[in-house]
């Protein structure tokens, strides 16, 4: 009887876990960690944080943003997972993200931006992986060209390159 109710409880818990988290099980990264998400997150794989290697991020649906930026004269085709998918995956509960880059640049990003603008955590530019030297391994990309109001709203400051950590608040 006890065993049966324990099994039922287990089944209940499993049934209510978010599907993505279940699929991933948020496995521990096997490669070099390129992104750490911390703060108000419910699914973690390293202490209180969720860590990702590149492979984990590439397993999510990949999206493209083709846009010009203030930092280059050419239009660039960025590709990577959506920020909103990553936040769902770690069970983020908060309104603000604090992004920190490898060069210690910090920016605050409203969580609402992720869904509203389809913000992408770009891993590639024009089909090539972004190295640290090319402002990778992750570059937060807004579709600047498709929404002219973004530049005025300060999206440029939120396009953090060399992204290392996200803290959810």
């Amino acid at each position: 009887m006890l065993l049966r109710s324990a099994a039922a409880l287990l089944l209940y818990l499993v049934a209510h876990m978010p599907l993505a988290a279940l699929a991933e099980g948020l496995a521990a990264p096997t490669g070099r960690v390129i992104l750490t998400v911390e703060g108000a997150v419910s699914h973690t794989n390293a202490g209180t944080t969720a860590q990702f290697d590149r492979e984990m991020l590439e397993r999510l649906p990949q999206h493209e943003i083709e846009t010009s930026t203030p930092w280059a004269s050419q239009v660039v085709r960025f590709a990577g997972p959506r920020l909103s998918d990553v936040l769902d995956l770690v069970g983020a509960r908060g309104a603000r993200l604090h992004a920190t880059a490898h060069n210690d640049y910090k920016a605050e990003i409203p969580v609402a931006d992720a869904a509203k603008h389809g913000v992408v955590l770009a891993l590639k530019a024009d089909g090539r992986y972004l190295s640290l030297r090319e402002r990778g391994p992750i570059w937060i990309v807004y579709p600047l060209d498709s929404d002219p109001s973004l530049v005025e709203a300060g999206a440029g400051d939120r396009m953090v390159w060399q992204l290392a950590r996200l803290r959810v608040e």
């Binding site: 930092w71 490898h102 060069n103 640290l132």
Partner: protein, 615 residues
């Protein structure tokens, strides 16, 4: 009902003019605010990318040093190289790179980018203790130094032309409109009021007119507020990036373990600080030019103003090893104390900045019904052909080296504007290699303390300092008094030797120091008195050397005694002009090859004039 019709026509015309003016004014506000944002943004990011690149080069240096001593692993060092590397293309491509291109440094950035692959190879094979560290360090530091120069140039260029200039042009345009709108608002207000009084029978219309006038007054007030808001916004937008850069450099300073890099960061911090100061000054200047600042002239004692100016610079002067002396006064003047203090502070700031050794003297004297405030320094002096130009914005003597030491081009422009606003003339005396004297003339005011005014009336008619150089022996036991006296003497182009006692003065003369042309001695000295010293030295020289006795007490017996011996008698505190008077008297005598004794006599007479004016 003819009056009623004409009033209506006048009102319609007035309203149309006012609407036109306000529309024009706000149209220019709109035009200009987008321009302002663009300029502020360019300033923020354009400066930022070069400063950031230099910062990353410093962090790379830090990582190399850390790797050499085993504090940092290879991956972290390579990451640092990559982060540094990622900064360089930003100076070559994209909107931010325009700032670099404008100062002609695209090649510098391209050159650094070209050197990076070789550097990468060397870093890849670098291992701790293999002897390659110092060469790596040197080469990265050379990149850093080049970036530093670019950063300073971008900062410098932007501060004195380009965007700020454009911003100011925009600002001038908008304030021009505001002033026109304000003036016409006031004129319309007056006109409407006059008509209102004239036509008592048109009570109905009068009420409407009054309401219209109130509306126009409110609009004018709003226009004035808009101007203030614009100023505040402009200063905020420009200060913010500067502040951020300064903070960043400050944080960086604490992280550097490479000793050689520390002074460079400090230099950068200093340059940023100066830029901020310059910006504040520019905003002040703008406010002055547009009449946002209005003086409030009133009778006020001078001493508190001088005290407050002095308080701001004593420490700075001491840090530079300069003497700073403030001559006390009991005079009252008619001025706006805040504005005068600002002008004097700028003068003193300038003096402290440009004086490498010696000191600064701040004092005043009365001349007729006017008061002259002097700021005297023993700095390098100002060449004749540049005396007009130093009052222009952004003019400075010398080269950029000088600028990085703290010269700036705005202080005197502000002084000039403020003093014009107050109606106080400014004049300048300067001797190359000796020093400069800036003098501000103000009207004297009546005061309670005025009953015993200090000063000698014949000073104004004194001849200009002759070219003859006078050797002065100062005998004074108070080191500071002696030094400041010497400072004044040297600033007038003469030479000065000091002795702290009568005995020392006599010994100096006996040891073959050239016989002085003038002795200025304190009466009260440890041991023999100043008068004794004068007698002794005159006896040794075998002639009556011109001399003056300076004393704090006004004992009439002492005065008589001194005058009887042909020794001038002066009461403390000595003003720089009294000293100048003494020196020009002696120099004139030398020039005219007069008998020294006569000069002694004339000095004695002058001394008696001084004393009688004290009574």
């Amino acid at each position: 009902m003819k009056a009623r019709a004409s009033l209506r026509r006048g009102r319609i015309a007035a309203a149309m003019v006012l609407i036109g003016l306000l529309a024009g004014g706000f149209g220019s506000v709109w035009l200009v605010s987008s321009e302002r944002e663009r300029a502020a943004e360019a300033l923020r990011t354009g400066t930022w990318i070069v400063v950031q690149a230099e910062v990353e080069s410093l962090r790379l240096l830090d990582a190399l040093a850390g790797f050499e001593i085993g504090d940092v692993d290879r991956q972290e060092m390579i990451d640092r190289l990559d982060i540094f590397w990622s900064r360089i293309p930003l100076m070559l491509d994209g909107t931010d790179s325009l700032a670099v291109a404008r100062v002609g440094h695209r090649e510098t950035a391209a050159e650094i980018l070209g050197e990076l692959p070789a550097l990468e190879e060397r870093i890849a094979t670098f291992s701790p203790g293999d002897g390659s560290y110092s060469a790596l360090r040197r080469d990265v530091d050379s990149m850093r130094a080049r970036l530093h120069d670019v950063a300073l140039e971008v900062l410098g260029r932007r501060s004195d032309s380009g965007d700020i200039q454009r911003l100011l042009d925009s600002y001038t345009l908008i304030t021009g409109w505001m002033v026109v709108a304000l003036l016409s608002g006031a004129a319309l207000f007056g006109m409407l009021l006059r008509q209102l009084r004239r036509s008592a029978e048109l009570m109905e219309e009068s009420r409407e007119a009054a309401a219209a006038a109130a509306r126009s007054a409110a609009a004018a007030l709003e226009a004035d507020r808009a101007k203030s808001r614009f100023l505040a916004a402009a200063s905020h937008d420009l200060r913010q990036p500067l502040n951020a850069a300064a903070l960043l450099l400050g944080a960086l300073r604490t992280r550097i373990t490479d000793r050689a890099a520390i002074p460079l960061v400090e230099k950068a911090s200093y340059a940023l600080g100066r830029l901020g100061e310059q910006l504040n000054m520019y905003l002040d200047l703008t406010k002055l030019d547009t009449g946002a600042i209005r003086p409030e002239v009133r009778a006020t004692p001078l001493q508190p103003i001088l005290d407050s100016v002095a308080a701001g610079f004593r420490e700075l002067a001491a840090e530079k090893g300069l003497r700073f002396r403030l001559v006390p006064t009991s005079l009252w003047i008619r001025t706006d104390p805040d504005h005068l203090e600002r002008a004097l502070s700028n003068l003193v700031s300038n003096a402290v900045r440009h004086t490498a050794s010696g000191g600064i003297l701040l004092g005043c004297r009365r001349s007729g019904d006017r008061v002259r405030i002097d700021v005297i320094d023993s700095g390098p002096g100002i060449p004749e052909d540049q005396r007009e130009r130093i009052f222009e914005e952004f003019f400075q003597i010398g080269n950029t080296e000088r600028a990085s030491e703290g010269g700036h081009g705005l202080g005197l422009a502000i002084v000039d504007r403020v003093l014009r606003l107050l109606g106080h003339p400014l004049d300048l005396h300067s001797e190359l290699g000796c020093g400069s004297r800036f003098s501000v003339w103000l009207p004297q005011a009546e005061s309670q303390a005025d009953a015993h005014g200090v000063g000698d009336e014949d000073a104004a008619s004194r001849p200009a300092a002759p070219r003859e150089q006078v050797r002065v022996l100062v005998i004074e036991d108070d080191g500071l008094v002696a030094e400041s006296l010497c400072l004044v003497i040297e600033s007038l182009g003469h030479r000065c030797v000091t002795a702290s006692s009568a005995e020392e003065a006599v010994t100096l003369t006996a040891e073959g120091v050239p016989v002085p042309d003038l002795i200025i001695a304190d009466y009260r000295l440890p041991g023999l008195s100043g008068l004794d010293a004068i007698r002794e030295i005159r006896a040794m020289a075998g002639r009556v050397i011109p001399a003056a006795l300076v004393t704090g007490d006004t004992d009439p017996g002492l005065r008589t005694m001194a005058l009887a011996e042909g020794v001038g008698f002066l009461v403390k505190p000595l003003s720089p002009d009294q000293v100048a008077g003494l020196l020009s008297g002696v120099a004139a005598a030398q020039e005219a090859r007069q008998v020294p004794a006569q000069t002694g006599q004339s000095l004695a007479r002058r001394g008696s004039v001084e004393v009688s004016s004290m009574a």
